[in-house]
Amino acid sequence: MKIDEIQFQIIKEFAPLEEWFEKYEKLIDLGKKLPVMDEEYKTEANLMSGCQSSVWITSRLENGRVIFQADSDALIIRGIIAILLKVVNNQPSEDISSMDLYFLDTIGLSSNLSPSRANGLASLVQYIKDCAKEYLYER
């Protein structure tokens, strides 16, 4: 599936969740299911700035597609990471570098990604795009 198709699907999944706590319960659920990152990858270098909660991310290129692994110490953030990864993981680097993550707005999560939240998510999204761009140049 392409990035926009996945976004469409996520929006559909979230649509029935009208109350905030339903959404949060889903995020918490997704957060619990997100694979835990190996401690060895939770390095300073992989850490996104964000003094409220920590976010780590690594990536590698496989056949022109980018594979991300990410984690956080906060559960709801893990949930948000989980859906973000759903969208970007295994996508071609050119698609990632030019993508518009409109689903965050639609499902009402965009405010969590503003830089002033200091939870590391804003840097995470930036990292994902920058990283895809770099892979693009490398090729």
């Binding site: 706590f21 949060y24 003094c51 909660s53 110490d73 906060a74 559960l75 709801i76 200091a118 939870n119």
Partner: protein, 405 residues
Amino acid sequence: MFDINKIRSDFPIINEKVYGRPLIYLDNAATTQKPLVVLNKTTEFYKTINSNIHRGVHYLSEQASAAYENARKTVKDFINARSLTEVIFTRSTTESINLLADSFGNTYVREGDEIIITEMEHHSNIVPWQVLCERRGAHLKIIPFDDNGLLLIDKLHDLINIKTKLIAINHVSNALGVVNPVKDIIRMAHQHNIPVLIDGAQSIQHLPVDVQDLDCDFLAFSGHKMYAETGVGILYGKEKWLEAMPPYQTGGGMITSVSFDETKFAGLPQKFEAGTVNYVGAISLAAAIEYLRGIGMKNVFTHEKELLDYTVKQLNGMDDLTIYGNSPNRCGTISFNLNGIHPYDVGMILDKLGIAIRTGNHCTEPVMRHFGIKGTIRASFAVYNTRDEIDVLVDGIKKAREMLL
């Protein structure tokens, strides 16, 4: 008489809604809300007599200058300073401490000297001293605290020596709410002729602070944390110190004459007030002080103490919850965590319930390190908070735990 309904009606924001729910504002240690009298005072000032202060020949300037100097008098009376020259208007607690670190530090602190702070200082009362020590080749010494948040005063005895040039210590911890025995520390320090700076950022709004009674040499605090508008703070200093200290920032207003060969500096307090000060900020601070006086600092203290005790009682009744700093002597602030749950997760859920608390390290990383945690959930109180609001908070915490476990 302490009339909470009257007080709540003084603060317009208190009746706002967040996500359709009544706002429960418990982030007062970060900044307090402002009563209408303060907002009206400054707006009225701008609408009728605004003009740059001092050196003006005209009516508005005269009125504005008088209002500004009256504000200084209001602050002086509030903290019971001996004279107006001891009250310096700054931008904030942080600037007050930077001023002191620069001006006092460069004058009195030499290579090998020592400055004592505590393990529970706000970054604003750590970093300026670190920078000073690095610049002068001096050393920072730390008074530790125990797991209840009590300073190990005995250690102070060991730390004080002939090289100690200053002790800088917070009156009330913004991370733990602990009230420190500053009077004892000051007495001890003065036996060795060591001056003491009190960081009053978290005490001035909660309890009566009398600089003559404390006998502190310096006191720093921020207007925005005591119901005044942003951008104004105070550095109180005993005249003998301020007289001996050189200017910090320089420019217009703090000189008596300027030439390219020689510049002469003005006397106190102008010496430390370079350029156009935030004179409307000063006027808002005076208005906030008048407001607090109208209620009475003792009443403020009693009300907030009651709130804190009530909160402690409610939280103590919860399983899997850790309160940090169980000192009997606390005020204004309480820090805790749900065991095994990241404070940020709790904060996000409380937010959706309309409850504004703060999570994180509260600019006190050493305190977090002490407890081996990344952050806490902090609820901090003001004069307008109520038990009902605490109940909503406690319900919110229960809801958060339910969702997150």
